[in-house]
Amino acid sequence: MTLTLELEKQKERSPVVAQTIFLGAGLALLLLAPLFFYPVFLMKILCFALFACAFNLLLGYTGLLSFGHAAFFGGAAYFTAHAVKEWGVPPELGILVGVIGAALLGAVIGFFAIRRQGIYFAMITLALAQMFYFFCLQAEFTHGEDGIQSVPRGHLFGFVDLSQSTNMYYFVLAVFVIGIGIIWRIINSPFGMILKSIRENETRAISLGYSVRNYKLAAFVMSAALTGLAGGVKALVFQFATLTDVGWQMSGEVILMTLLGGIGTLIGPLFGAGLVVTLQNYLATSEFPVTIITGLVFMACVLLFRRGIVGEFYNSRLGRRLGFEHRHKH
């Protein structure tokens, strides 16, 4: 009797320990990473990882596939770049401008998109994001094909010089951790539970009395705002904002990152983003177009491992023994 109790206790305790160790190790790796890797490369991964995590808030936890998230990512990059360069605001305020801009854009696109479900939702977001792309192509402040160039990084809170790449890296890392923290808080709140119930059974959520539309719109705006956070930071990292970030290919890329890492897992998109960005950097110097590989990985993911890397790990025997739970319909 005591033995079984002991075992049960261990079972209960070990997952938390294991997960804390994983989390700590991960954070330590990220803190030490600039010693081994090129900081801009790492910052690119972190920006895209946050982008993918924000996207996953919508796809993985609410069950809505947006094919238009590039609008929020690239849009925020433009807003931040414009605010910092033309208005001369400090970087933290510039990023805030990007976040608010992306949230407003999300409210407008979301308002139309949630009127249809499933496959139509995906097509509507794609079409509206394409409309925003054409707007960016023609608008004055985006400078069309040239984009907004040589955006100053400025001084964070007036005294941290972000033009130094180490400072910039730790700033980006801090934003990333805060962003992930917010996402974690959202999905583990009562609000997040309702989102999951919408994902699992929308009709039942409606019959339980939840105004599903409002919840969907709220999730959409939150996802857009967090995407804007990633986009704004990216504009500061690379010091430019261009049409590439608002194009539909970018919307496809973030879907791939999420799918590859694991839909509906908190940190899966981080791995997906890391892999995709590494692949892009690797192929950037060659003539070989990256879209061929991207497309093939897409097809392989959908056909062979829909849970993604992290999802498959969670679902493996080791992952289960470590107490990771991963529930998502396929």
């Binding site: 097509m123 394409q130 093939l296």
Partner: protein, 295 residues
């Protein structure tokens, strides 16, 4: 000079013609999308790539084998249709039991791969394709000059659209397709080979896209990117029309093409977004689409 709403009649009719041409392609493509979606519940993102493949098939057949426009009009859709059927048979088939979003993602990956391959092989710039000799030149209609090839595209695509509609609505095969759309299990229990119908349907949809590609080859340049440029607009067309009705897809395609053409006359800056604006308005007033049934 005759004017209409202060616009020279010539310019007005010219844009109307361009609108009808674009509308022909929108109609052909959204028709194929609607047929595939009706039976397979898959939104075929590779539709644009298949359209591009049709155009490239025409160009390759002419430049490598000397096969002209007329045989190509049959050959290219046949080739792309077979390719589509093979994809359905080997890969797409595994996704039917899953959430329809996976079908969208799979075909998106397929489109990226095909487009990337062609860009790698032939570069991003376009290849010209000569108008067939029989349809070269133009004719003066008295009120405007009509290039014969453009007239041919409008007439032929209209015939193909109506023909497809007739096949689906009036023939035995069409009745099987419609029945399988409503209830595949029941249809299969009557001894009809539903998996084969699915393969046939996807092949047919791909062939229609390729046919549109061949028609487009002499008008636009044959380029690897021609498919992805048009597919997003066609998605908007499909949202406006709703995918419940074949005729709805055809009519919406032509309507939006004309709307786009006329916007070029009155307010050129908005011409590339007008279809998206119309989509947004339709979503506000009639979310299920003009011809849609609520899914």
């Amino acid at each position: 000079m005759t004017t209409i709403f202060g616009i020279p009649l010539q310019a007005f009719l010219g844009q109307l013609l361009i609108g009808l041409i674009n509308g022909s392609f929108y109609a052909l493509l959204s028709l194929g999308l609607a047929i595939i979606f009706g039976l397979l519940r898959v939104i075929n993102f590779a539709h644009g790539a298949q359209y591009m493949l049709g155009a490239f098939a025409a160009w390759l057949l002419l430049s490598h084998f000397g096969i002209g426009y007329w045989p190509t009009l049959i050959l290219a859709p046949l080739l792309v249709g077979l390719l589509g059927a093979a994809v359905e048979r080997t890969m797409l088939r595994r996704l039917y039991t899953l959430d329809p979003l996976y079908g969208l993602l799979f075909t998106f990956g397929l489109a990226l791969t095909v487009e990337g391959t062609f860009r790698y092989l032939y570069g991003a710039s376009g290849q010209p394709y000569a108008t067939p000799a029989l349809l070269a030149g133009g004719t003066n209609l008295g009120f405007m000059f009509l290039p014969i090839y453009r007239g041919w595209v409008i007439a032929f695509s209209l015939a193909v659209c109506l023909g497809t509609w007739l096949i689906i609505e009036k023939t035995k095969l069409g009745s099987y397709l419609r029945a399988a759309t409503e209830n595949p299990v029941l249809v299969q229990s009557f001894g009809i080979n539903v998996p084969f119908l699915l393969t046939l349907t996807y092949g047919l949809g791909a062939a229609l896209a390729a046919l549109a590609g061949v028609l487009a080859a002499p008008i636009y340049q044959v380029s690897p990117l021609m498919g992805s440029n048009i597919i997003i607009i066609v998605f908007a067309v499909v949202v406006v029309g709703g995918m419940g009705s074949i005729m709805g897809a055809i009519i919406t395609g032509y309507m939006l093409g004309v709307a786009e053409g006329l916007t070029k006359v009155f307010y050129p800056e908005a011409s590339n977004i007008v279809i998206f604006v119309i989509m947004a308005i339709v979503l506000l007033i009639r979310p299920a689409g003009l011809f849609g049934r609520d899914a």
